[in-house]
Symmetry: C2
Subunit: 225 residues, 2 copies
DNA sequence: GGTGCGACGATTGTATTCAATCGAGGTGAG
DNA sequence: CTCACCTCGATTGAATACAATCGTCGCACC
């Protein structure tokens, strides 16, 4: 454990348990807390400027989401990523997201469509500006919003977990990025706007297939999703 | 909120946070806490014989798992099940579990095979003895063990969440049960023992399809999975 | 010199206490 | 009579304090 130079790395006012949860999750996804690293409650409390109680609640949440692992009295640590983990995540996503997209084409609200367009704009902007962490975050959010638009709470929850984990895997394992996927995102939004169920389904399926093969080649396209 | 006659309904010694989490989850699945019902921290603390702190941690865990829903200062309540929720769960499971079964056929250990055989025996016994809650629990466990045997942490986590939710949906919405599915379970175990990937995949796919159509007919087979 | 045992420090788990916020019920003015 | 406002009770959110447990280091003993 290295000494902590800065107690509050992001002093965005005093955080509550939910905010602590988000902050720790972001720090895990962005590699601030590395896989296998042990997270002591007191260190987290100091880091985020709260007491141990909200920290514990946040850690339980993240444990349930699969980012952390704990055993009684043995402490809590960041999950170690298996080699096959990334491929598993992409394979499962390849099963789930086309289904969600097809439903979203039928059920999306105008508000959701607007948010998606906004996300595409922000994403393309972040790509142009080379802001990697922001690209990853927007990517996850994009797929989460589509899942929400499917109207299925089950799909929403699962896709949200998956896309966050995928962003994590990418950021930890691959320090590169891709730009093209955001034009595919724009295509997907258009299909949703048209309400074309099968087009949305196939576009998302192809989109994710490309991400998978790009990942397999370990080259170029990353942060794709 | 009716008055609490019995402070500790299951006095299995003093519970810790993890045990409280399991206990509340079981009570939700078995309909003790009904959908929409608000769960105050103090009532839970009294019910399970601990203070509010471990209760809060358990509630955060269950919230992340999707059984409960909370908003700041608005309290925490059992999620209300949509009408389409059950079908969504079954549809997603129909996508995921055949994949898990195929992998399990290749990677299952002898220990896991033994546990599955034991579960089949226990399940058939519980069916014969008409112990509904136990049948549901064993059902979930059976599918969870197969997912574990797939060697994919992603699949394990998702299938575990799904099977528990499905047990919940069934127990809340349908007060009937089925016996036959356990003979199908036995068939699946045999395929895993043979190491036949495609047989395992197709048996699980058919198994879940039957559960889905049974559910749609709203008759006979329940607690099937 | 190696090994087993025991005490200490560190960390987690829980309880108690206090502060912040929300909603319901009452009260008074219009 | 209706509605706005305000006060109060209840509940959640957070901090502090205390107890239980684990790992490690050191020492005695074999």
């Amino acid at each position: 454990m290295s000494e902590q130079g800065s107690p509050q790395p992001e002093p965005r006012g005093r955080m509550s348990a939910q905010a602590v949860s988000r902050a720790i999750r972001d720090d895990v996804i962005n590699g601030v807390h590395r896989p296998g690293q042990r997270l002591t409650e007191e260190a987290m409390a100091a880091r985020y400027g709260v007491s141990r109680v909200p920290v514990r609640e946040a850690l339980r949440t993240l444990e349930a989401e699969g980012f952390l692992h704990s055993r009684p009295y043995a402490g809590i640590a960041v999950v170690e990523l298996d080699d096959g983990e990334a491929e598993d995540l992409l394979e499962v996503r390849a099963l789930l997201e086309p289904l969600g997209a097809a439903r979203a084409a039928l059920r999306r609200t105008p508000e959701q469509l607007g948010r998606l367009k906004e996300l595409v704009a922000l994403g393309q902007d972040a790509v142009a500006g080379d802001r990697l962490a922001e690209v990853a975050r927007l990517n996850s959010r994009f797929h989460e919003v589509i899942a929400e638009a499917s109207g299925s709470r089950t799909l929403t929850q699962l896709v949200t977990q998956l896309s966050q984990k995928i962003a994590w895997v990418y950021s930890v394992q691959l320090p590169r990025r891709a730009a093209d996927s955001w034009s595919e995102h724009a295509e997907i939004v258009r299909a949703l706007e048209l309400g074309d169920e099968e087009l949305a389904r196939s576009l998302v399926a192809r989109h994710i297939d490309r991400a998978r093969s790009a990942y397999r080649r370990r080259t170029n396209v990353v942060y794709d999703s």
